[in-house]
C-alpha cells in the first residue's frame, strides 16, 4: 500500500495524482503538495513511484489495507 508521500521531497508536479488509476492521491490546495487521500483503494501497482520525478518521495509497502469482515457497513 502507498504509505507516505514525503512533503520535503514532493515538488508538487501532480504526476502521481494524474497517473494513479485508482484516484488514491490528491493535491493539497494549501501546501500544493500531493497527499494520500484514499489509501484503501491502492492496488500496489507502483505507477506513482515509477513516474514521480523524485522517486524516493513515495514509499510503498507490499501490504494491502483490508477492511474487517462485518455484518453490514
Amino acid at each position: 500500500m502507498i504509505e507516505k508521500i514525503d512533503p520535503n521531497l514532493c515538488v508538487g508536479c501532480g504526476t502521481c495524482m494524474l497517473s494513479c488509476p485508482m484516484d488514491v492521491i490528491r493535491m493539497d490546495k494549501k501546501t500544493e503538495k500531493a497527499f494520500i487521500a484514499y489509501p484503501e483503494d491502492c492496488q500496489l501497482c507502483y505507477i506513482c513511484k515509477n513516474l514521480c520525478p523524485e522517486n524516493e518521495a513515495i514509499t510503498i509497502s507490499p501490504y494491502k489495507c483490508v477492511r474487517p469482515m462485518v455484518g453490514w457497513d
Partner: protein, 562 residues
C-alpha cells in the same frame, strides 16, 4: 464533513441545510447519517460537449482509436477514468506480438497455432486483422518514441495530446445515450466535482477495457467492465464470459502485484511466439482441488527460451504462487461487446468497440501467446477509429430527448443524494467473498455456480439500490460495484450455460470437450428485464477436422476424452 454523532434518547433535531443537503429528523431521535456530504441532484452542475467521435478509454486501444480517427480530420474527444496511457491494464503490458513475413513467419502456421491454442473459439476474421496490421502498429509505436523507454505511458499520452484530440482525464463515463436506435453519445462525471458531463457524439468507440473484481495480485482494480455494462444496458450482447484469466500472484506478499512484474518492467518488447502447447497453469485448479498446495510456478516445457524482454513473473519461477489474481477477468481479447462485423462495429449504429472491451475472440478459450493482447488492442483501436470516423462523417447531428437524459442523470447521481445506505467498499467485499474462491471461478460445478448466482442477484437487487457515495470518488466506486456485479452475473450464467470443459472454462461436472455440441460461443443478452444466454455457433468453415483424434485436434487431451 462530520456530523456531531449519534443522537439518542428522543432528542429533537431541527432540519438545517448542510452543504446543500437536508439533515433529517427522526421520531426516535436516531439521525446519524451515513452520507455526511449528500448532494441533491438538483445541485449537480452540467457541462456539455459536442464532438464527431467519442473514445471512451485511454489504454492502448483508445489511444490508437483516437489518433486514427483524428487523422481523418474530425473532432475527436477521449475520456479516461485515470490518465491516458497510465490507466487500465495497458501500463502493465510488456510484450507486443508482431507477425512479420520478412522475418520468415508463415501465415498458415500462425493461423493453425492460434486456432489450436484458442480451442477453435478464435474468430478468424479478427485474426486476419491482427496478422495484417500488427507490424504497422508496431512501427507506429516506434515512430512515436514509445519503444525503448521504460515508461511508455506518458509518451503515448503526449502523442494523443499532440494529435489534437480533446481529452477529459479523471472522468468516469456511466451511460451511453441511445436515441431512435442509435448511440448518440454518453454521460459521466469528473472524479473531483459533483458535475454531469454530457457528450453528444455522432460515433462512440468503447475502449474501456475488461475488468475484474478488484483482485489482489494483478493490478486491474481500475477496470470494472464499465464498457460491457454500458453496452449491455442499451441492448448489446456480451460474449466470452465463461472463460477466465489465469494470472497468479506470489504467496509471500499476494497483494504486492507490481513487484511480480517489476523486474520485467522494461517497456514494450516485440515478441513473435504464438503458443505451441499447453500452458501448465491450466492444471492448477484441479491440482489445488486435490489439496496439492503449494503450487510452484514452472515454465512450460515447450517454451525453449523466454520472449524478448524476459518472461513476466520470471522472478517467481520455482516459487509458490496463488491463482485467481485476475479474478473476474476473462481471456484477453475474448470478452466484451459482441461485434456485428469484422470492422469493430457493434449491432447498434453509432457504437464501435476495440481492445479488451470488444469480444473479438482473437485469443479464443485460452491466451494464445504473449503480446497478443497489446498488439491486438492496437490493431483493433486503429481499425475502430477509422470505421467510426467514416460513419461520423456521414452521420447527421442528433437531438437528445430531455426526459431520457433526466432519468440517466438521476441514476448516475442517486448514491450522492442518498442519505443512508451501504458503502460500495462493503458491497464489493461481499462480491469478492462470493466470487474469488477457486471453486467458483476456476473450477466450476453447477451447485456452486447456482449458489453464487443466488448471492450475486441479492447484492444486485437489494444492496445496489441502497448504495451511498460520500463524494465523487466514492460515486465512482458505487458505479464500479454495480458494473462488477453485472459481470459476476454474466460469468456465472455463461459458466452454467456451457456444459463442457474448454480451455480456461473448466467444469468439474462436465469435464471433457464436446465438439459435437459446443463449437459455439456464448452470448449474454437482456430479454424482458432478465439476462439470458444464447449459443452462437462458430462458422462451419472454422471448425476443426472432426475426424482427427482429440490428441491431434488439441495440444492436450482431458481425462475421459475419446
Amino acid at each position: 464533513m462530520q456530523l456531531s454523532g449519534n443522537h439518542t434518547g428522543g432528542e429533537k433535531i431541527s432540519p438545517k441545510e448542510m452543504e446543500g443537503g437536508v439533515f433529517m429528523t427522526s421520531d426516535r431521535g436516531d439521525a446519524f447519517l451515513r452520507n455526511s456530504g449528500p448532494k441533491p441532484i438538483s445541485q449537480v452542475t452540467q457541462d456539455e460537449i459536442e464532438t464527431d467521435v467519442l473514445v471512451i478509454g485511454g489504454g492502448m486501444a483508445g489511444i490508437f482509436a483516437a489518433i486514427k480517427a483524428k487523422e481523418k480530420g474530425l473532432d475527436v474527444t477521449m475520456t479516461v477514468k485515470g490518465a491516458i496511457g497510465s490507466s487500465g491494464m495497458t501500463p502493465f503490458a510488456n510484450t507486443f506480438m508482431v507477425f512479420d513475413e520478412t522475418r520468415g513467419h508463415q501465415r498458415e502456421e500462425w493461423i493453425e497455432k492460434f486456432r489450436k491454442s484458442g480451442e477453435y473459439m478464435v474468430n478468424l476474421d479478427y485474426l486476419d486483422m491482427f496478422l495484417d496490421d500488427s507490424k504497422a502498429r508496431w512501427e507506429d509505436l516506434v515512430s512515436w518514441g514509445a519503444i525503448g523507454v521504460n515508461e511508455f505511458g506518458p509518451v503515448l499520452r503526449k502523442q494523443v495530446l499532440k494529435s489534437g484530440v480533446r481529452t477529459l482525464e479523471r472522468v468516469m463515463i456511466t451511460d451511453l445515450l441511445k436515441q431512435n436506435g442509435q448511440i448518440v453519445g454518453a454521460i459521466g462525471f469528473p472524479l473531483e466535482e459533483d458535475k454531469m458531463i454530457v457528450i453528444r457524439a455522432k460515433a462512440t468507440i468503447m475502449c474501456a477495457g475488461p475488468g475484474g473484481f478488484k483482485p489482489n495480485g494483478y493490478p486491474i482494480s481500475s477496470v470494472t467492465h464499465d464498457g460491457d455494462a454500458m453496452a449491455y444496458r442499451v441492448g448489446v450482447e456480451i460474449g466470452g464470459k465463461e472463460f477466465v484469466d489465469f494470472h497468479f500472484t506470489n504467496a509471500e506478499h499476494p497483494a504486492d502485484s507490481w513487484f511480480n512484474w517489476y523486474t520485467h518492467h522494461n517497456g514494450i518488447n516485440r515478441s513473435e511466439t504464438p503458443l505451441s502447447g499447453k500452458m501448465p497453469v491450466i492444471d492448477n485448479p484441479r491440482q489445488v482441488h486435490e489439496g496439492m498446495i503449494p503450487i510452484v510456478f514452472l515454465l512450460p516445457p515447450w517454451l525453449k527460451e523466454p520472449p524478448p524482454g524476459g518472461f513476466p513473473n520470471a522472478s517467481l519461477i520455482g516459487k509458490e504462487i496463488i491463482g485467481n489474481a485476475g479474478a473476474g477477468l476473462g481471456i484477453h481479447k475474448s470478452e466484451g461487446i459482441w461485434p456485428a462485423n469484422e470492422k469493430c462495429a457493434s449491432k447498434i449504429p453509432g457504437l464501435y468497440a476495440a481492445g479488451d472491451g470488444l469480444c473479438s475472440m482473437l485469443c479464443g478459450a485460452v491466451y494464445t501467446g504473449l503480446g497478443t493482447s497489446l498488439s491486438g488492442s492496437a490493431c483493433q483501436g486503429a481499425r475502430a477509429g477509422q470505421a467510426a470516423a467514416e460513419y461520423a462523417s456521414r452521420a447527421k447531428k442528433s437531438v437528445i430527448v430531455v426526459d431520457e437524459f433526466g432519468r440517466l442523470k438521476e441514476g448516475t447521481f442517486e448514491p450522492r443524494s442518498r442519505q443512508k445506505g451501504f458503502t460500495p467498499a462493503w458491497v464489493t467485499q461481499q462480491l469478492q467473498n462470493v466470487m474469488m474462491p477457486y471453486y467458483v471461478l476456476l473450477l466450476k460445478k453447477q451447485g456452486r455456480l447456482e449458489a453464487a448466482l443466488e448471492n450475486i442477484e441479492f447484492l444486485r437487487d437489494h444492496l445496489v439500490p441502497k448504495l451511498i457515495a460520500r463524494d465523487p470518488h466514492e460515486l465512482r466506486l458505487a458505479h464500479e460495484t454495480k458494473n462488477m456485479l453485472l459481470n459476476a452475473e454474466m460469468k456465472l450464467r455463461a459458466g452454467l450455460f456451457r456444459t463442457e470443459t474448454r480451455g480456461s472454462h473448466i467444469r468439474e461436472d462436465h469435464p471433457v470437450r464436446k465438439d459435437t455440441e459446443w463449437l459455439a460461443w456464448v452470448l449474454c443478452k437482456e430479454e424482458d428485464g432478465k439476462m439470458k444466454c444464447v449459443k452462437e455457433p462458430i462458422p462451419v468453415k472454422w471448425r476443426p477436422d472432426l475426424s482427427l483424434p482429440m490428441d491431434q485436434r488439441y495440444w492436450y487431451t482431458l481425462p475421459g476424452e475419446v
